[in-house]
Amino acid sequence: MKFAFFLILSLVQTSRAHDGHSHDLKADSPLPGTSILQLGSVWKNQRGESVKLGDLRGKSRFVVVLYTRCDTACPLIVEDLKEIATELDPKKSGQVGVSVFSLDSARETPQSLSDFSVKRKLPTHWDLLTSSPAAVSELAAALGVRYKRLKDGEFIHSNVIFFLNRNGEIVARKEGLKTPRAEFMKQVRKNL
């Protein structure tokens, strides 16, 4: 299992050139002290590309944490997020990223992420990401997402949609499924 992970990682390294997130406009200025991007962990997306958290700088974005094998709440949160994204001004929505982080280090692969993306008809510019257990637990801790892996491989986890500004600071969060979003959208628009 560990070997397979290494193998994937080394394959990923070779495709780094295609990384589409390197618009480091202000890459030389230090990140704000509350920026999630300070974590610096490395993830792989559904195309098998390597994505450093720091690479996400420069674009405001929605962030959710889930696992793709989940067939209860996770599809709902993704539908919620799709609706939210289409509510934005189309001229601006192209400037907003979406990062879906998986909790399931043990089972998630670029393939399972890609399958989920196809099955849920997600826009192609959404990034679905997986990484090591340490990277997952630090990201979840930084976001305040609580989760627990159950024996059967399922997870209990917080359902929250976050909105991060260009520097990776959390500027808005929406907790729960199908909860009102007027206040959240107000904060999002303010930080586009």
Binding site: A142, G144, D152, I156, G176
Partner: protein, 245 residues
Amino acid sequence: MKAAAVFLLFVFPLAVPAAEVKLPKSVYSPLFRDPGEADSVVGPLLVDKTPVTNQEFLAFVTAFPQFSKSKIQPLFADGGYLAHWLGDAAFAKGEARFPVTHVSWFAARRYCESRGKRLPTIAEWEVASDARSSRNEAKIMAWYGRPGARLRDVGAEPANKFGLTDAHGLIWEWVDNFSESIMSGDSRGGSSTESLFCGGAALKAKDPKMYATFMRFAFRSSLNARYTSVNLGFRCVRDMDGGGE
């Protein structure tokens, strides 16, 4: 051949640094269970005999200044980080062997990493601290009833059955997976547990008499990774060779 093996078994414990004790392979039976959650096996494991002290933590922040009181970023700790220290490299005289407190999960985790160790899991901590013994249960309840109890040197009390000290009655301790403690009943904003948590976390206490265990669980469920407090410290553990994941 056999004699040599026996000899090695006797010699091996001497090779373990004095500051660690061995937790043999044990079964952890959670007080609160999610659907399908069973007992789990923990150990064998090397556990720090005492919580990490101010003196030990000073060596860490000297080596990793990004975790010093003045340099730590707010993502990694709240404003109370090392609040009892007098500066980046100083604490009150006489507190060198007090357990370090006012440390966040991020800092505790990085400290253990820097020692080639890690934070214990909930299961490991609960077993190693022998929390379920009735003697400890009574001790814990007495401590919980004395808010603001003063700190003291670590190791100043008899060790528990595994050789650990100070697990109860001195400080709370960070565990790596504190965020697995998910309490229901938080209905702020009208959202139900079902809505907040995929899978729904139904709490079913195995034994309602275990108040102390319940309180630890409730405390952990109130934590976030940046949080620091006057009576929250930590100790590290280390997987034994061949006993990893």
